[in-house]
Symmetry: C2
Subunit: 355 residues, 2 copies
């Protein structure tokens, strides 16, 4: 089958083998698969990506970066073949997403994070039947493919304190935008959206962000006081009536960003780190302790959050259509990766391997 | 009056002026005052200490490090004189602690963190009457002086997740030990106490720590699995029945320590940072995100936590006596600072300026 393969620090379109569906597995045809920031990290930072996974005990730690990997874990696909020992509650032709972990006689292994199980940048995948989540309500495949990144956003938003908080989303790439979508779908706010890129701020606006800030033009932290968040020197006595708490989502993931937030954040703020910084980073703990900040690192989601995400998208409770920038074929993936790695202006780009 | 003065990077015993009690203020005679880790930082790191305070908007940011400062903010003292405009609900001779902030016509200023208001390393202090907290129940002054560091511990423990958690206290200096005392006073555990120094581990044992680890001999993180905390690679499917969450208290505050905990901690652990690291520090965010760690920086306490701390010590609900290593006079302070800065073996050392 055709696939876009991570081979060395490049994406190469080539033929590859698809494993036959094993015990309890199904073969699916990929309709749409999103490009994730982690897929981008896998181009130039794959060794450290794997090393961090290994040190944290994750399945990604088992990948051999010297061998081919077909990336892609944000997919919507059609069941085309059942392997042995399957229950077949869903039928051939059914559309599904999946919590992207496969089980076989060797144990658990990621889908799209594996030398063995190709991900969604390929015409076909093998998935474990028990991990499938059906697409319902006739939801278009390209929207259902957003169930994965929206689950990441739901998970990050679940970690936040929502007792009269004011929100700042720093970085309006796909995850920052998905977090804005989730906050506004829950009726939460005010939400300040921060990004240098006008196209991404425009998507944030369509998703309902209350305030858009281009940090090249103004300091986003100038807005805290106007949002009833105490900002600046401690005022004694400390009683502050009707004060909002600041919740910041760090969705950039480059070195230095976390400490810029530690330096600029209001006292007692909560920082949810959803952007993955691939290098060691320097922070000033004395600033964080003097402000009593709280930093929660957020990654992935639970199986339940994934099911919720798919359900809410399919039922129209979460309108993810503003997040979708465009859909490309496999042949366009190398150039798309180049754009997203160098000068990203898009939100979510999906690949349709049928094209 | 006599005082131990921070003058340049040294403690010097000398005479100094005591300001007259102003509007709403009282003059007190210091009975006991504890040496805090922050006081130690004020010897060699005073400039950055002040700079971090300034950047975080704290009162400490206003100190001029080139001028004398009489340190000491963990005190118990006797009221000896009332200034104008005082309410005098307490009487002369009453023993008090205080939330160490003074108010005057210029605003708020720290006590013991000021070029103007001497702290407890002096025979006398001036305090704002409304900030006084009375010592009750005939509680000995040296124990009441522990209300301040115990409030720091209460505050740190209040930040932790206590839904079936297992605790590790890394560093058994005064704050680590106070945290152990508070955890055990609340009936929480198991508590693993970690320190290189045998004397400090012995105090941790007296305070009820369930497991003592000398990291020169064994890896404290080897104990997680035995405490029902999932440790090591992620196991799929993730359902883990009756699993405890790990809560780690970082009470060391030297560069590198936080990332050692990020590297060694179980997945989903909560790290409460109570040790103040005075230098920029390097962390590996990808490890923290892959493990979904939560880092809460904890400093000081609320006025209510301070009152609670004093009350519980006076009522005998918190036995702080194991924390007190010894009581010294002003003349012994320079040598005591030297010991605590170079090879600390003590828990809390108090100064009694009446000696």
């Amino acid at each position: 089958m055709r696939a876009a393969i991570r081979r060395g620090p490049a994406i190469v379109v080539d033929e590859c083998e698809i494993p036959p569906p094993g015990q309890g597995q199904v073969r699916v045809r990929t309709h749409h698969c999103g490009i994730c920031g982690s897929d981008l990290h896998a181009i130039h930072h794959f060794e450290s990506f794997i090393d961090y996974g290994r040190r944290a005990g994750l399945l990604t730690g088992r990948i051999d970066p010297g061998r081919d990997v077909v990336l892609g874990h944000e997919f919507c696909a059609e069941i085309v073949e059942f392997g042995p020992g399957t229950e077949r509650a869903l039928k051939e032709g059914a559309m599904v997403g999946a919590f992207a972990v496969n089980f076989d006689e060797k144990g658990a292994e990621g889908v799209g994070w594996s030398n063995h199980y190709p991900g969604g940048y390929a015409e076909y995948m093998v998935l474990t039947e028990s991990m499938l989540v059906p697409v319902t309500n006739g939801c278009p495949s390209e929207r259902a493919a957003l169930a994965e990144p929206m689950a990441v956003a739901i998970h990050a938003v679940n970690k936040a304190d929502h007792q009269d908080s004011a929100y700042m989303v720093v970085g309006c790439g796909p995850i920052g935008l998905a977090i804005i979508a989730e906050l506004k779908a829950r009726g939460l706010g005010p939400v300040v959206a921060v990004d240098y890129v006008a196209e991404r701020r425009a998507v944030a606006e369509r998703l309902g962000a209350d305030l858009l800030v281009d940090p090249a033009v103004g300091d986003p932290h100038d807005h805290w006081a106007g949002l009833d968040v105490p900002y600046g020197p401690v005022v004694y006595p400390r009683a502050q009536s009707r004060a909002r708490r600041a919740v910041l989502f760090e969705c950039v993931g480059v070195p230095g960003m976390l400490n810029r937030l530690i330096d600029a954040a209001p006292r007692n703020a909560q920082i949810i780190v959803a952007g993955v910084c691939m290098a060691p980073d320097s922070i000033e703990p004395s600033l964080a302790i003097n402000k009593e900040l709280e930093i929660k690192f957020s990654m992935a989601f639970s199986a339940d959050e994934f099911r919720q995400s798919m359900h809410r998208i399919c039922e129209g409770e979460l309108d993810v259509s503003p997040l979708i920038s465009r859909i490309v074929g496999l042949d366009e993936l190398p150039a798309t990766f180049d754009e997203l790695l160098t000068a990203p202006r898009s939100a979510k780009v999906l690949v349709d391997p049928r094209r």
